[in-house]
Structure formats: C-alpha cells, structure tokens
Amino acid sequence: MTNYILKRLGQGLLTVFLTVSTVFILIRMAPGDPAVSYAGPLATTEQLDAVREQFGLNKPVLEQYWIFLQQLFTGNLGQSYSFQAPAMVVVAERMPYTLTLATAAILLTAVVAIPLGVWMSRRPDTGREFGVNVLTIAGQSMPDFWTGIMLLTGFAVLIPIFPASGFATWGGLVLPTITIAILQIALISRMVRREMTANFAAPYLTVARSRGVRNSMLTWRYAMGNSAIPVFTALGTRFAAMLNGVVVVEVVFAWPGVGSLIVRALETRDYPLIQATVLLTALLAVGVQLLIDLAYPLLDPRVRLGKAATA
C-alpha cells in the first residue's frame, strides 16, 4: 500500500516535471521577445537589454533552465512581470476561486447526471428515453462560451436574478456552475447509462432477479455498485481537468480564477506567471488523480491497490 502510494507519487511528480519542462521549452522556442512586451514598443535597445538582464533572459537557455530547476525546488518561480509580485503568490490567490467553481460544478453534475443516467438505463429505447438521449446530445454540442453568454443575458441582464460577473456574492456562483454542468451532465449521464445497461444485461443480474431481489436493490446496489468505479473515475478526471482552469467559462463570467489568469499571462507573455500557473494546476490535478485511485478500494472491495489489477 505504502509502496503503491510512493510509486504513484513518483509517477505524478515526474508528469508534473515533464509538463513544466515542456512549457519551458515551448516558451523559449516561440518567436517574440518578452522584454519587448514588458518594456513596450518604444523602448530603446539599452532599456531592452536592462530588462533582459533583470529577468535573466540574456543567459544561455541551458543556464536559464538550470536556474529554473533551482527555482522549482525552492518553490519560488520569480516575480510576475505584470503583477510585480511573486508569481506563485499571484496564482495561489486565484486558486480558491477555481476550486470553488470546480467543486460546485462537479457536485451539481453528480447530483443530476447519476439519477438521469440510471433513469435512462431503466427504460432503454422508449420514446421518453430517446427524447432525453437527444437532449444530452444537444448538451454536449453547445459551445460553453455561447451557453454562458445566453444564460448571462437571460438571467443576469433581461431577468436580473443573478449578478453578471465576478464572485462578490454566492449568487455569482450559480450561472458559471450551470454553464459548466450542462456539458458535464450530458457526458456523464450518457456514460452512466452505458455502464448500467451493460450491468443490467449481465448474467449475475438475471440470477439476482430470479432470486426475487427487489428492483430498487437491483438498480442501486447491484448494477450501480458495479458501475461505481468507472463513473467515479470519470467524475474525478473531469474535476481534475477543471482545476486546470475552466478557461472559457471564467473568461465569460469574469471569474477571478486561474483560467482567466492564464489567458492574461499568455497575452502579456508573463513567463514566470505562465510557469507558476502550469506548475500549481498540474500539481493539484495529479494530486486529485492520486486521491481517486486511492478511493477505489472503498468503492470495490475486490480492488487491492498495487496489485496487478490496478497497475
């Protein structure tokens, strides 16, 4: 068990390391000079040189990478160019907002999608199920920025129930959460339906039914019990992905999270800020992934961590 956790932690850290290294290389490969965007288009050559000197951009790339690695292990990725503050601090301040939004969205998704998927799987190929099925297809076909603007216009401008942007009151959480959840509900409920249908067709369920087990038991205890792991994995993976910033939705609703921060960091070519965002979000995502794996034995007693089954 401990070995397993250590092994997974090692793999996770390696992934994070590769991610930030990839970003480092990509940034250096790209055309464009951060000194120009920092000092402005009218800066003289001397000024540009001074900026490069200040941020260590005039050193050889390998030396820059070495410095970057040292920074990585001390947890200090340098000053953000545009915020004039330690980049890690800037990102860390935004993180709670993204976490709140992601948590709210995944909770809403789970609460709606699981019962919806079960409902669909219990009456496959009926007219009503077909209707809901088509609705879920529509749900996964709507671009989230468009849904967001539509909800914003409908419920913040025309009928002003909720605030239009930011996170001043809890009401501000409602519209972004719904926007994210529409897509996620469509995806997850279809998956629940698929898993449950497969389980309903399995021989063990026929045996249980012939022994007179009640229908609700069959659904929730038997079929759901065996669908729990894939569904839980899907929910967890989605949650981990959201921690990387729900970029589009955050931009639409001016949500002060990591997603809107990264867009700004990219526009201004704020290298330390980009690196810090990638590092923190990747760390969090890997951590969540590990927690999901650790939860498997709770959902399915047959799973023994570290044994061949989960390797």
Binding site: L18, I27, I149, V278
Partner: protein
C-alpha cells in the same frame, strides 16, 4: 461497446428474427414492432436521418458560400450597422460594422470546417498508425505510445493549446496541428484495444505461417478489420474539433484571415448582446445545429444494426 442483449420484452416473446413463413409462433408482427431491438433500430434510423439533415443544412450553404448572392464577409457598411435579421436582404442582420452576419458566419464556417476536417484527418492518421503499432508490436513500442498517451491525458489541455497558439501565432496550420495533437489519443487508444483483440485471431497466425512480414500483416489484414470502427470515432471527433476551434477563436486565439471564425464572431457580438441579440444567438445556433447533426450521425451509425455481408 456494450452489446446489450437484454430487452424489456414480455416473457416468452423472443424479440429476434421475424418469422418468414407462417409458423405456430405466438410472436405477432405487433410484438416485433414493440420489441426492444426494433425500437433500437428505429431510434438509430431517426438519429441518422435527423443528423444528416442538420449537418447538410449547415454544410451545404457553407460550401456554396462563394456562389450565394451574399455581400462580402468583410465588406463594411457603416450606414447599415446592427440591422436586425430579415431587413434589407440581410437574412441574419448585420453586425456593429455593418457586415452581413450570414455572410460572415458562412465564410467563417468555411475556415472552421476546413480546420476541423484537416485536424480530424491528421489526428485520425496519427492515432490509427500509432495505436495499431502499439497494439500489434507490443513491447517497447506499446510502452512508449501508452506512456505518451497517459502523460497527455494528465496535461492541462486547453491551457497547452492556448499556450502554443499564443506563442506561435494563430495561423490555420498551427491551429489545425494543435487540435490534431489534442485529439489523437482517443483514436490511438481505441485502435490499440481493437488491434489487441484482432491480433489473437486465427487469420493472423495463418498469415504469419504463410510467411508474410509483420508490417504487411498489420497493414493488409489487421487495419482493414478495425478501420471502420476507428473512422466512426473520427466522425465524433469532428464535432469536438469544431467546438475546440470555436473555443480557441472565442478566446482570441483563432485565425483572423481570411475570415474570422465562429468563436470570434460570437465574442465580437458579446458587447452588443443586450441591444442586438442576433449577433451572438444566430452564430451560436449555427454551431449547435452543425455539431448536433454530426453527433447524431455518429451515434446513429454506431447504434445501427450491423448488416451481414452479402453472400456470407
């Protein structure tokens, strides 16, 4: 991938083959029409029909955009700003610079669709080749491909895409490449799992005994057996590619020339949403119609009962 055979048919009514000649079976035509398998087939048929209609409804005007009697997509007429739909021959109205919205949507759609189709072709090719190689050869090839797949799944996807586009410029090749890179894992994983099944089948051993080279077996015998299902996934990826491209261009990382694409048109109209609803609503509806169509088509093709080969 589940072949759900359990149907909610009543006890004692096997919902299977319709009886050809008069038989003592108690299964009537009405029973067959109500059976789960029949309803499933009908649902797939409707999805195919509606999906085709929706897709064509968007695709045909886009393809014919140059032929249609429309003003140029970039032609500005400041005296005709923000006209509502159906005025002065502007079916979708005009935007804040007096450009014809329908023309913008169609011409932008050409760019979006081109990117989508190219991206899907590239990601399909990469995915099928790498996935098949990983599944068939196993060993270190499989290890490398699977590791790369895993690593990419845990990367912050949209963030990386934005990063690459922001750094290398929003040109059509860059965006196409970026979307293709984002999408190949799905094809590769599916192809790999199917090839794993195929390679254990007797015909592969037979081919090997006949002295065929391993690469030849893979290309001539295994890939033709999995390509059909792999292309189905590719169709669903087209829907995703269109959505991804529109998200990128909404965030300002989309192509600007020759025409602004759908996401950009919507973000342009965002500031005028309270006074000119059509500038956001209509382009969005076009995207939804198109993507719903492609998704329905993919779903319907997947659920369609497999026809037996003629003469088999």
């Amino acid at each position: 991938m589940s072949l759900d055979t359990a149907t909610p048919a009543g006890p004692g009514s096997p919902a299977g083959q319709p009886a050809r000649q008069p038989s003592p079976s108690a299964v009537t035509k009405a029973d067959i029409a109500k059976a789960g398998a029949t309803r499933r087939r009908n649902a797939a048929k409707w999805k195919l029909i509606v999906g085709t209609i929706c897709t064509l409804l968007v695709m045909i005007p886009i393809i014919l955009a140059q032929e249609l009697p429309l003003p140029d997509a970039n032609f500005q007429d400041l005296s005709a700003r923000r006209l509502p739909p159906l005025t002065d021959g502007h079916l979708f109205g005009t935007d804040q610079l007096g450009r014809d919205l329908l023309s913008r949507v169609l011409h932008g759609g050409q760019v979006s669709l081109t990117i989508g189709v190219l991206a899907v072709l590239v990601s399909g090719a990469i995915g099928i080749i790498l996935g098949a190689a990983a599944g068939y050869f196993g060993g270190w090839v499989d290890t490398v491909v699977s590791r790369v797949l895993e690593a990419q799944m845990s990367l912050p996807l949209l963030m990386m895409l934005l990063l690459v586009v922001a750094l290398f410029g929003p040109s059509i090749p860059v965006i196409t490449f970026v979307i293709a890179i984002a999408q190949w894992p799905e094809v590769a994983r599916l192809t790999r799992s199917m090839v794993l099944v195929e390679r254990e089948k007797p015909y592969v051993s037979a081919a090997r005994i006949l002295g065929l080279h391993r690469v030849q077996i893979l290309i001539q015998h295994i890939i033709p057996n999995v390509i059909k299902q792999a292309t189905l996934v590719v169709l669903l990826l087209l829907a995703q590619a269109v959505l991804l491209e529109s998200a990128l261009s909404f965030l300002g990382a989309g192509p600007q020339r020759p025409f602004a694409t759908w996401g950009r048109i919507i973000s342009d109209g965002q500031d005028y949403i309270t006074t000119s609803w059509w500038m956001v609503t209509l382009p969005g509806l076009v995207i939804v119609l198109m993507v719903v169509g492609v998704n329905l088509l993919g779903d319907g093709l997947r659920d369609r009962p497999r026809r037996k080969k003629k003469g088999a």
